[in-house]
């Protein structure tokens, strides 16, 4: 290996690492707020990428049907509950978010031919279709179990992951898709050429991290999420709805996931089940941070990206073996250093 290859691998690793870092942030956020280990994170990556690819291919993305279907189910559940608890005034809002919004999205997709939109508009529309799935999934799968143990929530998360992978196959088929790069520019820096897409990925990831940081530090909702993460009961006593916090954290996780998918779609071919491994690598990063620290999680994720790209050079067949075996010493180190007060599951 000479310096040029090393730099090339390093660039690859950094690009993937930036994506893993974004995902690891979302995983830490969801776990801290809801105690859900969010295995389906990767499916949002795939859905984001494939929805954008569908627009560009002039097809109707399957996520639209998913949004409509999930909306109908959520509306049914929520309206029944609102009627039972004697709060019919909520119905308007429920119907608005879960029925009218998906219908409006469908109208845009069918009437305006998003295939002809500029890229930015296509990205916004793809996000608009995929991101609301986050809170809807929280409502249907996790909210009824909000008080269950972490392990039960984990099994549910795995179940949601399976269901979404199956739906992904149904809606997008087994074929992979790749979208055109955001920019064709490339910059020659002596030994290496840095592609415009790499800069986009790293830049957009950094920007999103800064925005998230500002959100958590400066806004009342961000602070509410942090409060819930620190102490659920305490936050509730202060009037913060844990249901709201749960939905909001899933919304953010879905946003981060779908956006990551859109960022990598020009670099790698995305299949309906690609997201799982990408999400798990974000996990390795998140676990390095103990599912608690954002900066350590991000650093760990970048490390995973570099490790992956270098091991694909030395032993490409064993790339996944190396990355996922790495998690075990990390887990051991983590569980030795965190003093866990064990009892009752």
């Amino acid at each position: 290996m000479d310096l040029q290859i090393a730099l090339l691998l390093g660039q690859d690793g950094m690009t993937n690492g930036a994506i893993y870092a974004l995902l690891s942030l979302a995983l830490v956020l969801v776990f801290a707020v809801t105690r859900v280990i969010f295995i389906p994170q990767g499916e949002f990556v795939a859905f984001g990428a494939l929805t954008l690819a569908s627009f560009q291919a002039g097809k109707t993305p399957g996520t639209l049907w998913l949004l409509i279907g999930a909306g109908v189910v959520v509306a049914l559940v929520d309206v029944t509950q609102a009627l039972r608890s004697g709060m019919p005034r909520r119905i308007l809002r429920i119907v608005g978010w879960n029925l009218v919004y998906p219908a409006a999205a469908a109208a845009v997709v069918f009437l305006l031919k998003p295939g002809d939109f500029p890229l930015l508009a296509q990205i916004v529309l793809a996000l608009a279709l995929v991101v609301p799935l986050g809170p809807m999934i929280y409502r249907l799968a996790f909210q009824p179990l909000a008080e269950a143990s972490v392990l039960v929530l984990l099994i549910v998360a795995v179940a949601v992951h399976l269901a979404l992978v199956g739906l992904g196959l149904l809606f997008f088929g087994a074929e992979g898709s790749r979208t055109p790069a955001f920019s064709d520019a490339s910059f020659n820096l002596g030994l290496v050429t840095v592609s415009g897409q790499t800069l986009w990925v790293v830049g957009a990831s950094l920007l999103l991290i800064v925005v998230l940081f500002a959100f958590f530090e400066r806004t009342i909702y961000g602070k509410a999420l942090r409060a819930t993460a620190m102490n659920r009961t305490g936050a509730r006593l202060m009037g913060i709805s844990t249901v709201m916090a749960g939905r909001l954290s899933f919304l953010l996780a879905a946003l981060i996931g779908a956006f990551s998918g859109i960022l990598i779609a020009p670099i790698t071919t995305v299949y309906y089940d690609t997201g799982f491994l990408i999400g798990l690598k974000g996990f390795v990063g998140a676990i390095v941070g103990g599912l608690a620290s954002y900066p350590i999680a991000a650093a760990g994720a970048i490390l995973v990206g570099l490790l992956e790209s270098f091991s694909s050079f030395w032993a490409s067949a064993f790339k996944e073996v190396i990355v996922f075996t790495l998690i075990i010493p990390v887990l051991v180190w983590r569980s030795l250093t965190t003093r866990h007060v064990e009892e009752d599951e």
Binding site: L145, H161, L167, L170, A174, L280, I328, E345
Partner: protein
């Protein structure tokens, strides 16, 4: 219909099914059996032991690939050539390999607390899968074919109908082994893993060892299933050993009822038949090919966990009357007792113990002694640090500073298990029991250190003699504390006061020379308190040392030989009950200042 009849009916059905079923149905039944063996391991591991694993499919793969490799490999090196050719050697080596891998993985990952463990199993589940697919000598992603069929007594089991009996014999064997294990001393230790670790450790159970044990048993079950699979299919490739199949195994256990042995069979049956059915229908319905059954499985799992977290088995058993719990009081010869220390000898000495939680000093320079044949009472207002002191002394927590001597030996840095082994036993202020086990079984956990038979003899029920003596001892202690009528009831159904009394019986079952009782009289009625006081006096007369935390002053003052009073983590008085009652500092602490 009595349950024995249901079981015989089920066995009879198993026997004649392959005679009447179609080729396809027999194949399906074979697969149900194979999956049920793996799910049984998960019942033990997850349902009973509380350890979630998504990685069992990898162990199935180890079993399948080992025998596939050994029974087909041509070019085994000379020294290893005797291992080749026979499926039975393949089974033996497979079990060894699996045990080794599981032991190493267990050592690494079972230390992981809470949710880190299942994440760890996902990680090595994926690693092993990719390893199977990328190792040249295991045939890579195409796999290995030409695996010989099993032969039994000269009959070659090429036919699915013949193989059926081998599979289901293995299933029933695994059921028998698992049930035996759960109904034993080791089994009680395993059942304590879920929600009773602190208590079990204080009774001398090595919970870390129990975890490794059930992890090994579950892995070996999976390995046997893989071995059977390889010789049934006579071809292996990595696909059936991936993470998604590992997840499916866990689903089987959860859907069937993860805490019940028969739940594994139900779960394996339901998921396998459903999968077959969905794989037939969904692609036709949806007009596309693919594994769409995962959508249904995912949604079904969510539904089960939201609505019926205990799975199908408890729902089914509502229609079948359960066998009456054994009502006979267990009989058996007495277990050997440790020699009692001479009365008056100092048993426990705590010297200048400090315990700090961050900035809070819960114990500040506490010293006390307990002698054999005396009742020492530790009293003080709520939050004075009495229970913290108890935890420091009994090794449940460790003191920040200071020294604890038990029978002359420094035990400050020992854990609760090691201290229990030296003859100290305790109860807890917040009752710690296993609510779904009977009173007798709960008390028998106290006797854990007085038995020695391990997992293997428990699984084969070779330890019945020791088990009978243990249960008889537990029954004697239950009677001794006056709970004879509730002996076979569930511990969770006792009133709180009785639960505390049961904890005393459990502590006594350990044959201690020093008894630590944390508020034993709380929640008892007057008459019950009287009989408790009588029991404690009798124990004192037999030379037992008793350290008591209690709020009921009548109870304490009538019973204690000496009293130590704590307030704000410090000792404010010590002496005979009468002296302490007149002590101005104590009056101040209890009644507020008298101006």
């Amino acid at each position: 219909m009595p349950p024995r009849l249901v079981l015989s009916g089920f066995l009879g059905l198993l026997l004649i099914l392959p005679l009447v079923a179609s080729e396809f149905q027999v194949t399906l039944l074979n697969y149900i059996g194979l999956y049920a063996i793996v799910a049984l391991g998960l019942v033990l591991l997850t349902g009973v032991g509380g350890l979630t694993s998504f990685g069992q499919a990898a162990f199935v793969g180890l079993g399948a690939y080992t025998t596939a490799y050994l029974s087909t490999a041509e070019g085994l090196p000379g020294w290893a050539s005797i291992l080749g050719g026979s499926p039975w050697i393949g089974l033996l080596v497979g079990l060894l390999v699996t045990a080794l891998v599981a032991y190493l993985l267990g050592l690494l990952t079972l230390r992981l607390s809470g949710h880190y463990l299942p994440l760890g199993t996902i990680a090595w589940g994926i690693s092993l899968y990719f390893l199977f697919g990328n190792l040249e000598f295991l045939g890579g992603h195409t796999g290995m074919s030409g695996i010989p069929a099993l032969s039994l007594f000269g009959i070659e089991l090429k036919d699915g109908r013949k193989f059926y009996y081998v599979v289901w014999l293995a299933v029933l064997g695994a059921v028998w082994l698992t049930q035996n294990l759960l109904d034993s001393r080791e089994g009680r230790a395993i059942r304590a893993l879920k929600g009773g670790v602190v208590m079990a450790e204080a009774m001398g159970v090595d919970t870390a060892r129990s975890k490794v044990m059930i992890f090994l048993v579950a892995a070996l079950f999976a390995c046997v299933s893989g071995w059977l699979y390889a010789h049934l299919q006579r071809f292996v490739n990595p696909t059936p050993f991936g993470l998604h199949i590992g997840i499916e195994y866990l689903f089987m256990a959860v859907v069937g009822g993860a805490a019940h042995v028969w739940g594994a069979l139900i779960g394996a049956g339901v998921i396998t038949v459903l999968k077959q059915w969905l794989q037939d229908w969904l692609p036709k319905l949806l007009g596309a090919s693919g594994n769409f059954e995962v959508i249904v499985f995912g949604v079904m799992m969510i539904f089960v966990l939201q609505r019926a977290r205990d799975g199908l088995w408890p729902i089914l058993t509502r229609f079948v009357p359960q066998r009456e719990a054994k009502r006979e009081v267990p009989q058996g010869e007495a277990l050997p007792k440790k020699p009692t220390p001479e009365s008056g000898q100092v048993l426990l000495e705590a010297r200048n113990v400090f315990k700090r939680f961050g900035g809070l000093v819960a114990n500040n320079n506490m010293s006390l002694t307990v002698k054999a044949g005396e009742v020492m009472a530790l009293i003080g207002p709520n939050g004075a640090g009495k229970s913290t002191m108890f935890n420091c002394v009994s090794g449940v927590d460790s003191a920040s500073e200071g020294e604890v001597l038990f029978r002359g030996e420094a035990v400050t840095n020992l854990n609760s298990r090691q201290i229990a082994r030296r003859g100290m036993s305790r109860t807890f202020q917040h009752v710690r029991l296993l609510p779904t086990m009977t009173v007798l079984e709960n008390v028998a956990i106290g006797g854990h250190l007085r038995g020695s038979k391990g997992v293997l003899s428990a699984m084969l029920h070779l330890e019945r003699g020791e088990e009978a003596r243990l249960l008889a001892e537990a029954a004697r202690q239950v009677e001794r504390v006056g709970l004879k009528d509730s002996m076979f009831g569930l511990a969770g159904s006792l009133a709180l006061g009785q639960q505390r009394t049961m904890e005393i019986a459990r502590a006594l079952c350990a044959d201690p020379c020093l008894l630590l009782l944390d508020e034993p009289a709380a929640g008892l009625r007057y008459m019950e308190k009287q009989s408790l006081a009588k029991l404690l006096r009798k124990l004192r007369g037999e030379g037992m040392g008793i350290l008591l935390v209690e709020h009921d002053m009548d109870f304490v003052m009538g019973l204690a030989d000496r009293v130590v009073v704590m307030e704000f983590g410090e000792k404010i008085a010590e002496g005979l009950p009468d002296e302490v009652q007149r002590d101005p500092a104590v009056l101040e602490a209890y009644l507020g200042g008298v101006d």
